[in-house]
Amino acid sequence: MLEILTTDFMQRALIAALLVGLVAPMVGIFLVQRRLSLIGDGMGHVALAGVAIGLVTGLEPVLTALAGAVLAAVAIELLRARGRTNADVALGVIFYGGIAAGVVIISKAPEGTPANLVSYLFGSILTTRTSDVWVFLVLALVIMGTLWVLWPRLFAVANDEEYARAVGLPVLPLNIVLAVLTATTVVVAMRVVGLLLISALMIVPNAAGQLLARSFTSGLRWAVAIGLVSAVGGVFVSYPLDTPSGGTIVVLAVLIYIVTAVSMAVVGRLRQRRHEVAESHEHEHGPECGHEAIPHGDHVDYLHDGHRHAAHQGHYDEHGADEYGALSRDDGPTGQDEEVST
């Protein structure tokens, strides 16, 4: 099995997969947050026109694809910002115009060019050259650097665009940056995952990550971990199985998602059975509610008539009787609920 690692094209494919698995979920989390999950797919379509132009003119296809996708990204954000109701249709025109032009132009590519349409659309580990790996490395570093600096702002805009605008954050420039990062990710993923499947690697690891996470940062960490496992694992498996790398990577990611969803459902069912809901009361426990606060693991319990209440979704859970003072506390804080109406 380890001889895979000594094969040149496998080494290149694994490095490319590593970069894609790392970067795609990082960019994808903001797309999912903005409910623009499928925009990466559209940019992949336009990148194909860029690849075609590269093949016909003899320029580097990776760079012409980058140019095409970035131009499309900026155009899309400007269209969205103008808030036209038919922006949706305009996106359709750009996306399908891109893929159609790509197919037509590639058919005119000179003889002898590696104009294998399928390898661009679905990825092929054999097509990744050393020069590509260097380009991907630089692009991936640019993406990660930009995200490291801007992620709190991208989060703010994706989370609540109206608020971001009201407090004067540069909403349009940030949205354009995100679109350009998406376009760049599409190009990085072009060889290994393929232009038609790259969107999956931005979305599926995040879908699985959201099942496990309780915060934005943990969601991001889970998604990157799942993205890495799918991308690197997919390339590994595709070699002995002799399957296209892109499809294999995405099938693996979807399997991880399904396994995660099923296990979380089972765990949730088990927890449901174990957890005990406290009597309902209108009173809201808080730092100044008058009930004694007791730190309990990652949360705070409030001592309510001798038993512990912990906030859980819309209600309070019973976290057991207070083992220290439940019985001795005969002067307990009964009747505190009336404080609500003050």
Partner: protein, 282 residues
């Protein structure tokens, strides 16, 4: 710059109003929804903008925030024309419902931290002091113990307080709130009112857009009524209450009459020959 003395006792006599609208009109596209609004808000005032749904009060608020088209008149914030104000975070916006994206999980603290961003410039990263401001904002709204809780699992009232904390993290000079009590149950409304009272005590200026006064009434220093896209009342709560009493009087009299009638019949019945309870009354 008109420096009309305000009747509200808390108002600072400073001649530069925090918000100053003069003959302002706002709307969407070419269509004006609110017109001819003249409204100075001074430091320390707690102003409720009241009006039924569709009256134009939300359009007025979004106009002040620069979120829709400013079609006529002038809008000045802190003495500067609103479109020239660079530091927009001085106006702390608390939106109506949680307009927050729910497709990605995030904690209360993560949301509140976004309110600090306008204070960090274009590329700055939060420092220890910024994290302290965020922690203090959560503490002020009574949610320190829920900082790491996922926002979507909080109650409606708690989510509203997260949004207030987010605005506070920007250390604003005025809070502009859209329907802070809508969809919040009565108990949580009182918690919310206590939070706002704490801010009032710290001298925060507030503009609260609402269709019902509810638990917030005790905090107000001034009430502005918007109806049909125009300001129809502007004055202290006492005058508003007097006006409301005068208007309700007709209804009260009517109800009073029917109660009296009911009382009369009830009084008649016990006076039969076998009645003993009447003696106790007599």
């Amino acid at each position: 710059m008109s420096a009309a003395p305000r009747s509200a006792s808390r108002a600072d006599p400073s001649p530069v109003p925090v918000i100053e609208l003069r003959g302002a009109a706002f709307g969407y596209g070419e269509h004006a929804v609110v017109t001819d609004v003249t409204l100075p808000v001074h430091r320390g005032e707690i102003v409720a903008v009241l009006g039924p749904n569709g009256s134009g009060k939300s359009t007025l608020m979004k106009g002040i925030l620069g979120l829709n088209e400013h079609l006529a008149g002038t809008v000045r914030l802190f003495g500067e024309p609103a479109d020239e104000l660079r530091d927009r975070a001085r106006v702390g916006y608390v939106p109506q419902r949680h307009t927050l994206s729910s497709s990605i999980r995030s904690t209360a603290e993560e949301i509140v931290a976004t309110g600090r961003l306008p204070r960090l410039g274009w590329l700055g990263r939060p420092k220890a002091t910024d994290r302290q401001v965020v922690a203090r904002a959560l503490e002020l709204v009574g949610l320190s113990d829920r900082a790491a809780t996922e926002v979507a699992t909080l109650s409606g009232g708690q989510q509203r307080r997260v949004l207030i904390a987010r605005a506070l993290a920007g250390q604003p000079d005025v809070l502009v709130m859209d329907e802070p009590t809508a969809g919040v149950d009565v108990a949580s409304q009182h918690v919310l009112a206590d939070v706002l009272a704490r801010l009032v005590a710290r001298g925060v200026t507030m503009l609260i857009v609402t269709h019902e006064l509810g638990a917030l009434e005790r905090l107000l220093t001034r009430i502005v009524v918007v109806d049909g896209g125009r300001v129809t009342f502007d004055g202290p709560p006492r005058r508003f209450a007097a006006r409301r009493r005068a208007r309700d009087h007709a209804h009260d009299t009517h109800r009073h009459d029917s109660e009296l009638a009911a009382g009369d019949t009830a009084a008649v019945v016990p006076h039969g020959p076998a009645d003993r309870s009447g003696q106790a009354h007599a």
